[in-house]
Amino acid sequence: MRKAAYFGIEGLDRNLGKGVSYGSQIAVEGDSGIGKTVLAGEFIKEGLRCGDTCIYVACDEPPVAMREHLLSFKVGAPAYEEMDRLIFIDAYEESGSAEKYAFSDHRHLVKYYVLEKEVLRCYAGRRVRLVVDSLSTLLTMADTSEVLEFHRTRIKQLRKSGVLAMDIFVNGVLEPRVMTITNHLYNLIIKMSFTSSTYSSLRQLQVGKVKSQQFVSSRHIFTISPLYGIVVAADMGVGE
């Protein structure tokens, strides 16, 4: 049941060694437009190929954006949705969502927690990947103590259920202090950012975890290919 999972991005997976175990939580932090949703798409594509059930919580765009994103990489969401292997929770539309699962009351985090728990209960016994894109959007209206309480309770529950979760955070939405505390709860942290070289702006990701208050990580340059998705430097023939 608890086999190791990967992202489906060779240059990144190579650095994960034995992979990430189910029941782990991954935090993805990054600037706007850096490719967090593309990374989420890679994670879902890999999960679907591996037989996992993937749940995508769409907060920043409607679910159709992810369906189209997957299709642009020749992944047909309808077949997986038909087999109940790809589930969307619409947390974007304020009302009138056509999705089976929808969440619009962003003022009450507890309601989201209950909905997420209920959806996960439907898929108990399966290998599940959960992506919340972005969790920071869901948390904007909550105060700090509520955010921290929500995090602790939710992550404990996800770990217990063996769910492999990816929470996405947009840089600058939550207070740095909240992010620092929150990061301690995740098994793996991926920070994505633009970095300037002499001639151009590059994308880089740092993969690691918080150890003794320090973020210990490895750095990788990556690009986003319209054909292949995220390609990490080693895959492009550039030294790591």
Partner: protein
């Protein structure tokens, strides 16, 4: 046994042995038997060219002339009735009176598909004289009457492999056969050089080659399901695996396809995993099916492999649906 009976029995035996042998050949044995019939008939016509004359280009007249010629050479060789019905030629006879009835009975005893030597020879003579392809169907009534029908053939002989000098041809086009080691080496090379491209390359290769095939074949089949089954038989005969159409719903453009013993799975099992995690691997076939169905159903279809023999399934299963579906307002859970 008289000399004549001995010779006849020998001819039947030769036909039966050929029929049984070609059935075991890859690339559609029945088509090879058609080739044999053309060669035999061609030699017969050439050797006896002074004993008959084709005065008409009507198929029914050509067939009658051929039967008359055979009966002149060997009395009562043929006792078939011939008549026209549109483009079709209807041929009937009593099986007990047929010179090849022993052959026919033996094919039934050994559970081989029905093959009629008389109809095969008519198919050959029409090909030789008119240069037209005819197919035939035959059934035997409870009263022992053979009822055959010859009709202009629309099916391409897609999978027949021939050799012309040092060139191998598949359906008339240059082809190569290479061992699985070479295919596996190609895959492993892609994996080593551009690992992120592997599944995309396989899917795209399948899709593009599937498009070329379906565009050639589409016009020959009015019926979508018939066309799909024809294409799947061709894939099976070419060694991709046993491909079967499990279900097809034209109203919602949904198809479920199974492939037993996919060659891709065999290669992965023997030469190593293509990916880090155990996962579905038949992207080449997925691309082929996507192309077939998108053209046949005249809309954007995308096919996904939902289960694969490489991860413990009994077969590889593919599900094809329109690429983007309208979401209805579903009854569901709201938070």
């Amino acid at each position: 046994m008289k000399n004549k009976d001995f010779l006849l029995e020998t001819i039947r035996r030769i036909y039966f042995s050929m029929y049984k042998t070609v059935g075991q050949l890859p690339f559609s044995g029945q088509y090879w038997l058609e080739q044999f019939m053309i060669e035999i008939t061609s030699h017969l016509l050439q050797d006896h060219k002074d004993d008959y004359q084709f005065n008409s280009e009507e198929p029914v007249d050509i067939c009658r002339t051929f039967f008359n010629f055979l009966n002149n050479v060997y009395p009562n060789w043929v006792n078939n009735q011939l008549e026209e019905s549109g483009d079709n030629l209807l041929v009937s006879s009593e099986r007990d009176g047929c010179i090849y009835s022993n052959f026919c009975l033996q094919t039934q005893t050994e559970d081989l598909p029905l093959f009629c030597i008389h109809l095969g020879s008519l198919q050959a003579v029409l090909r030789i004289v008119l240069d037209k392809h005819y197919a035939y169907s035959v059934k035997i009534t409870e009263e022992g009457i053979c009822q055959g029908r010859l009709f202009p053939s629309t099916q391409l002989k897609e999978e027949i492999v021939t050799r012309q000098g040092h060139e191998l041809k598949l359906a008339g086009r240059r082809a190569i056969l290479f061992p699985k080691e070479m295919y596996a080496s190609m895959l492993m090379s892609i994996k080593n050089h551009v690992p992120h491209a592997l599944k995309h390359v396989l899917y795209e290769a399948g899709y593009q080659s599937g498009l070329q095939t379906i565009r050639r074949v589409r016009a020959l089949h009015a019926d979508v399901e018939e066309c799909l089954r024809f294409l799947f038989d061709a894939l099976t005969n070419a060694g991709f695996g046993r491909v079967e159409l499990e279900s097809l719903d034209l109203t919602i453009a949904k198809a479920r396809i199974r492939c037993y013993d996919s060659f891709q799975v065999v290669i992965t099992n023997e030469y190593g995993q293509l990916y880090r995690s155990p996962q579905v691997i038949c992207d080449l076939l997925r691309g082929v099916f996507t192309a077939y169905l998108s053209v046949l159903l005249d809309r954007d279809i995308i096919c996904e492999e939902m289960n694969c023999q490489s991860v413990g399934g009994d077969y590889c299963e593919f599900l094809a649906l329109p690429s983007l579906q309208e979401k209805g307002s579903e009854e569901g859970t709201r938070g």
